[in-house]
């Protein structure tokens, strides 16, 4: 908390001298400043209780927490940038974990088909999301909520608990690490890097920002807006599918409610918004999102180390989210004038 309350000061002092831009305080910068502040404050607090926050186990804990949420949030960033959003990711994570684990069925030879099939299922769900939004012209909120409910019905109808079996060799994905950093976290950061390149250095990426900024203007400028929205949803769902595969490898089987128990739908939106991406679309990016994900992961780890009541975490999370967006909103209002 203390990390966020000290932020209003620099922002407030800006309007007196808006013209002299020594250092632009973009949301992305704020996120990483806040992350560093949180790490420092967290280390001190944990240190006072005789523990160490950033030792091997602590880092491992933070990275592990960040991996699944990070993958989902990367996809969520892409759809939110197009001015859409995806509420179906939580159920999709559960579904893909089941598809992967059931296809593998304990055989090492089936790892590749399992992964590919899970990603294909995810892509199809994303395609459905995108088509419902663009062709049936349903509001993204309703469209993806509807798809989420359909997935939920399927899961509730067919599964009562964990199913499938992940071969031991595939569990290396979930548990191997390089020093204190899990391999899966590095892969997540790799995906983040690829998406960063896509969004900020490639034509489809520019189109995503254009559509999110103003659909009509983008359309009149010759951007295939429908295609862009559908692509964004497919990418988002595939990212969620990767999270499902990762969780399957970690749990050793598929679990229908692994995504909803973690609240990945709203949590990923929170991470994206915390990372400074505008909910209305068109502004923000992956870098901020990763910062937001690590803030949430660090908060969790700090609270675990301090043995704080788990319910208190939710309270702090809610307050941090609102405070952060209020700060960004102030920055946004000041900037154009």
């Amino acid at each position: 908390m203390s990390s966020t309350t000290e932020k209003p000061l620099p922002v407030r002092s800006v309007p007196a001298q808006t013209r002299t831009r020594r250092f632009t305080l973009t949301p992305t910068v704020i996120v990483y400043v806040a992350l560093v502040a949180l790490l420092v404050v967290g280390s001190v607090l944990v240190g006072l209780q005789g523990g160490v926050l950033l030792d091997q186990a602590g880092l491992l804990n933070i990275f592990t927490r960040a991996t699944a949420l990070g993958l989902v949030a990367i996809g969520q960033t892409i759809v939110i940038l197009t001015g859409s959003l995806d509420l179906s990711v939580a159920y999709l994570v559960g579904l893909t974990s089941l598809v992967a684990a059931e296809t593998m069925a304990g055989q090492s030879g089936m790892i590749v088909p399992g992964v590919l099939l899970a990603l294909a299922v995810a892509a199809v769900v994303g395609l459905v999301n995108g088509l419902v939004i663009t062709v049936l012209k349903a509001n993204a909120f309703i469209a993806t909520l509807g798809v989420a409910l359909i997935l939920r019905g399927y899961l509730e109808q067919n599964y009562t608990g964990p199913a499938g079996d992940v071969p031991r060799t595939f569990q290396h994905l979930g548990y191997d690490r390089v020093g204190p950093v899990p391999v899966a976290a590095l892969l997540m950061l790799g995906v983040a890097g690829a998406c960063w390149w896509l969004l900020s250095r490639s034509r489809p990426g520019y189109h995503i920002y254009a559509v999110g900024g103003d659909v009509e203007v983008a359309r009149l400028s010759g951007v295939h807006t429908r295609r862009t929205i559908v692509t964004a949803h497919v990418l988002c769902s595939v990212a969620a599918g990767m999270a499902g595969i990762y969780l399957a490898s970690r749990l050793g089987s598929g679990a229908p409610y692994v995504g909803t128990d973690a609240g990945f739908d709203l949590e990923s939106i929170a991470a994206v918004v915390l990372g400074g991406t505008l909910l209305a679309g068109g502004r923000g990016g992956i870098v901020g999102t990763i910062g937001g994900v690590f803030i949430l992961a660090t908060l969790d780890t700090v609270f675990d180390d301090l043995a704080v009541d788990p319910f208190f975490k939710d309270v702090v999370r809610g307050v941090v989210l609102i405070t952060a967006v209020a700060l960004y909103a102030r920055g946004m209002v000041r900037r154009p004038r």
Binding site: V132, A138, L145, G146, G153, L266, G318, R330
Partner: protein
């Protein structure tokens, strides 16, 4: 004072939901032996009352251009707080009811103030509020709801009163009727119209001297208060549990959208939103009677909301295409409102 005649002005999306509702009610009458008498339908209304009240509150927020994701958590909070404070003590009922309602209004006020003063999108504000409420309530009760509701408190959700002609009418149905009539009258008045205008075009309202912030604040306060009322009814009807309000926010939004109200604001009627909530509840009852597994319930709900929204947006596009207002706009059949907004 002229009473609002129960002849809905056919605002966009009102007719379909009424047709759907009538079809569902007829289906119920055919499928279920309990639905050949007034009591059966009163029981349905009694079950649906909390959701319908939530839908009315959600309608105010949605029509003014926002979202309220905190109502589900607020319902849980209301029930848990009431149970803890009453603790089975009959004499505490009155002030606890007042307190729960005040708590709902306060939460709505905070939602509204953060949205309007700090310029945070309402989706985020109410999402944050959802997290805060969920966490805070269980922090306060050490993880599990404690205490018990008094019999008097539970009367509102499960009791009924003798009304001539109709027989036993549940209190919750009477409360629902009062709220619905009040909401319909309110939406016909100046403030209600201004609220819709804010959702349609905030800038225009501001330029014409409307109090945009105050109107949106009012919408959130009403939503919070009505969620607290729904909590009182649900506490009586369903009892105390930590899951009582789970998912209700999405269900209320679904109901409002089913009623043809446009997400993003500016269009739709409160009667239709309430009818949407009743349709949803009638649908679940019908699925139950037909022996459709409970698990498929959500899948059906998903298909239906997508179909409803697709119908609303494609249907209106079709109507505009069939009778173009001006010759100049015919070149753009895809989005009939677009030419009007670009000068």
């Amino acid at each position: 004072m002229k009473r609002p005649a129960w002849r809905p002005r056919l605002a966009e999306g009102t007719a379909p939901v009424l047709a759907v509702l009538v079809a569902l009610l007829i289906g119920l009458a055919i499928a279920g032996p309990a639905y050949d008498s007034v009591e059966g339908y009163l029981a349905l209304l009694k079950r649906a009352a909390p959701l319908m009240i939530l839908a009315i509150g959600q309608y105010f927020v949605i029509v003014s251009g926002g979202f309220d994701l905190s109502v589900g958590a607020l319902v849980t909070a209301g029930v848990v707080i009431a149970a803890r404070l009453i603790g089975g003590d009959e004499s505490a009922t009155a002030w606890v009811i007042v307190l729960v309602l005040a708590f709902g209004l306060l939460v709505g006020l905070v939602n509204g103030l953060i949205t309007t003063k700090l310029l945070v999108p309402s989706f985020i504000v109410t999402l944050g509020m959802l997290l805060v409420l969920d966490g805070a309530v269980f922090l306060w009760t050490d993880g599990a709801p404690r205490g018990a509701l008094s019999t008097a408190f539970r009367q509102f959700g499960r009791g009924s009163v003798d009304v001539p002609l109709l027989g036993e009418v549940p209190y919750s149905v009477l409360i629902l009727l009062v709220v619905l009539v009040a909401a319909a009258v309110f939406m016909r008045g100046g403030t209600g119209r201004a609220l819709v205008a804010v959702g349609d075009n905030e800038q225009a309202v501001r330029l014409s001297g409307g109090q945009v912030d105050r109107l949106r604040l009012l919408a959130f306060v009403l939503s919070g208060g009505l969620a607290a009322l729904a909590a009182i009814l649900l506490g009586g009807f369903a009892g105390v549990s930590a899951q009582v309000g789970q998912g209700l926010e999405f269900r209320a939004i679904t109901a409002v959208v089913l009623g043809g109200v446009l997400l993003g604001g500016g269009r739709g009627s409160v009667v239709a939103a309430t009818a949407g909530a009743l349709s949803l509840e009638a649908l679940f009852t019908l699925l139950n009677l037909l022996g459709v597994a409970g698990a498929l319930e959500s899948a059906v709900q998903g298909v239906i909301i997508i179909a409803a929204v697709a119908y609303a947006s494609l249907g209106s596009g079709l109507r505009h295409r069939l009778r173009p207002r001006r010759a100049t706009t015919t070149s753009e059949p895809r989005d009939p409102r677009q030419p009007a907004s670009t000068p």
